[in-house]
Symmetry: D2
Subunit: 284 residues, 4 copies
Amino acid sequence: MQNFTLLIHCSDQKGIVAAVTNFIVQVEGNIIYLDQNVVIEQNVFFMRLECDLSNSKHTVASVREEFSSTIATQFNMSWEFYNQGTKPRMAIFVSKYTHCLFDILGRHSSGELNVEIPVIISNHDDLRPIAEQFNIPFYHVPFSKDNKIEGEKKQIELLAQYEINFIVLARYMQIITPKLISIYENKIINIHHSFLPAFPGAKPYHSAFKRGVKIIGATSHYVTEELDEGPIIEQDISRVSHVNSVEDFIMKGKDLERTVLARAINLHAERKILTYCNKTVVFH
Amino acid sequence: MQNFTLLIHCSDQKGIVAAVTNFIVQVEGNIIYLDQNVVIEQNVFFMRLECDLSNSKHTVASVREEFSSTIATQFNMSWEFYNQGTKPRMAIFVSKYTHCLFDILGRHSSGELNVEIPVIISNHDDLRPIAEQFNIPFYHVPFSKDNKIEGEKKQIELLAQYEINFIVLARYMQIITPKLISIYENKIINIHHSFLPAFPGAKPYHSAFKRGVKIIGATSHYVTEELDEGPIIEQDISRVSHVNSVEDFIMKGKDLERTVLARAINLHAERKILTYCNKTVVFH
Amino acid sequence: MQNFTLLIHCSDQKGIVAAVTNFIVQVEGNIIYLDQNVVIEQNVFFMRLECDLSNSKHTVASVREEFSSTIATQFNMSWEFYNQGTKPRMAIFVSKYTHCLFDILGRHSSGELNVEIPVIISNHDDLRPIAEQFNIPFYHVPFSKDNKIEGEKKQIELLAQYEINFIVLARYMQIITPKLISIYENKIINIHHSFLPAFPGAKPYHSAFKRGVKIIGATSHYVTEELDEGPIIEQDISRVSHVNSVEDFIMKGKDLERTVLARAINLHAERKILTYCNKTVVFH
Amino acid sequence: MQNFTLLIHCSDQKGIVAAVTNFIVQVEGNIIYLDQNVVIEQNVFFMRLECDLSNSKHTVASVREEFSSTIATQFNMSWEFYNQGTKPRMAIFVSKYTHCLFDILGRHSSGELNVEIPVIISNHDDLRPIAEQFNIPFYHVPFSKDNKIEGEKKQIELLAQYEINFIVLARYMQIITPKLISIYENKIINIHHSFLPAFPGAKPYHSAFKRGVKIIGATSHYVTEELDEGPIIEQDISRVSHVNSVEDFIMKGKDLERTVLARAINLHAERKILTYCNKTVVFH
């Protein structure tokens, strides 16, 4: 495969699209996907482009270099360039909840997630049997007030050792440390069990039940230092009624959580997400 | 028609359902709908019952009286008893937004709302032509800091004059006064243009846009003294994406607002709603 | 636990609800759920009732016997009576698709499915490793034109041996034989990968793509002799657009299939479904 | 306003995007929207582009001419070119149903439909008062077996007289004649009251009720000679349950019909739809 994905983000200027597409012509590529968007109020330009080089004498690596030194510089772009032949490597962080973990591992086994999963890290040892069931290395890295620095150090070491590109928090019940967030900026995906910004923080289903909402939700977002305030990737909802107890909310919510998290993982893995101003641009 | 609807709400006790259904047998009624629900944690019992008296020698009025003096007293019930032959009389309050007003009047003309609409009241004179277009009396009752008491007095007089049973705020941009709320407790339906409890108060679409949500919503609820905190009747949502501007949010939101409000009106008109603990029980 | 669930289905008659609820009073039960519905055109009466006997000197078994010989006979009812303490035993039939199987087994491991899963039966040997991963007996029962009778015989033996109450076809790619259907009438749940009655039969995603629909769906239903014509239990849908290929339809569809099938399993396991006239009544 | 919308559709070739965007640079335009899609199996290329000429010395008309004689010819494109300053003129065809008509006229009055509505045509005289209520010319053009040719002739005359660009069938209960379809190819929008391809033809709610579906739908599509087989523009769905009668289906369906039809009108009016192979490409 000689396909690549290019994500661009810069201030809007005349002639950007022409410049990029001329560049593709020059390197003998064939555009198989191009979506471009301008947020006029903020004069921001976004583009996602997929290109096939199978009839070109250029390689993905050489095109990348060429792009970097010409167009990218000229228009002062933020850009990301991915070889579609390389699967991103994803670490899973879990605590004690099993539903998202089973879902991710089941989907991965079924070939529905376009990622490698080299490692699972947990602050508890409880879910080790599930990791073993799916033959994935599992590390118990306890994380408490007393050993916070040690725990973070161990996490970062493991992530480096397994060459992890992004992290999924599959209902991981710990705050991520600022240092880890800064290393994996917009690369840590959380699933929050409410329709954010409604019910941030702990026990959202209990709060939703108490408020008497008719719809509950789940939200996947990138982790930032502000709890439950990071860029939203995907949300979905489910109807509830007065016949549902808090336990029903939790059970229905699990379905939302796993589905929304899986969608976020795939969007990230397929490089369909750009972030700016604490928001995401999600290309289809 | 000799049908009635009975709504019951009391502390849960053994034998309630048997007592009520035996009562229906006694009065020669035929149960055509019965839904009953217990919230175990709070030991609360709810029931909605529809009964046909067409083969009975009792009348709706006599059954009501009998029920009141026997079962209702015995079980210390909160209850409501409605003759299905009588349409509730609904007042519409509007300001300047036209979309919900057109929708309500169009549906009413099409026979989709089981209510009478004897009067429209507004703090502006702008929408008078729409009222005239649909031949409904329109009153301009200005409402400012200076004439608040006078305005409220005028509103209450009009509501009494037109024998109004409940009020719909069709994007009415004024706070309802506590006195009016107390007269029409759980009988004033508002439509809020967000997925409550997210984005209460002013400009929710702008806040939703800023937060970068992927789903927007609308919420109909009964008006209480706490702004946007009353019992939720119905909610619905619509997907948005990065290509949508605030204006798109507003436009998509209008569709939610009119649909959710219309559903709430019908649920209320068909006596399918009970309220307790600032929540609604919505029977299907 | 001394709770039971009662499902009733008979022609509508005056006094049924009173008779049933009086019976519950007699046996000192406490009604914790009652939903009742009449289809007037067909004069059919449905009821679902949950009852708590914890403060009664009667047992579930004795109440059942008493009910059978009195009310049930008197009103000529079709009825089902379940001890809530006994989990139904579910067999899974699979072929080669893994996504529904992983989903069911993951949910079961997470405590989300209120069933026992004593056995998995397949016409291929491919998914044996998954069964082993979850420690569930797996039987390869090939099923071709030549050994149809033998295959059916083996299936029926296994179902008897494992005391199976109902069967789930987790994308099982074989026609169920009439004999097996007659043994498990309204007890075999299939998931069809379209929004029935649109696109019955083979390759529905390809047909949906060709037709250019904007929404795809999945349908769980009880298996009857008419292919994809049995009583529908649950359906759900997902939006698609022109950017989606058939492969995208299939991928999105997998999410629908597993969710809709899991909901159907739980509805069946919790005895929330009645069937009549090739339709289901699904209590909430 | 000097904005235009360009829709392109041709066989996929290297360098198309570059050629088009270079052209925009040449005419000093600023691309404010560009979405491009390739259906690889069929080697088809689609593009939608919005361009702002406010800082250009070219006019929309001159750019159009230039485009026609250069790029469009060179790549053998099917293309449409619209001045955003000109609202399309829409005729409404109705019979006796009022809900879609009220909805369209209410939305139009509220400024939610970006069209002119110069005329309403009906095969019955019943809805004339609604047209009068909204001050829109109404023509009663009866349409029966005997006067088919005469009726069609009158319709075509009126459409010409009012310079109609596209037609909306707001639950118009007549077959459109082949001649009219050929004049307004992909310019007649119908709303069908089912989730196509399920339940084409007459009485779809009755069929849906009989089949026991759990979800009903509505479908807007362009009219072709094959009944209910034209390119689908938009669909939406609503949940139903065993408590709902056919009348409930019809009532819930009305909500779907008006919403789905309004979306289709806006997508068409904003030139967001391309058609090919009896399917639509709907740009967002």
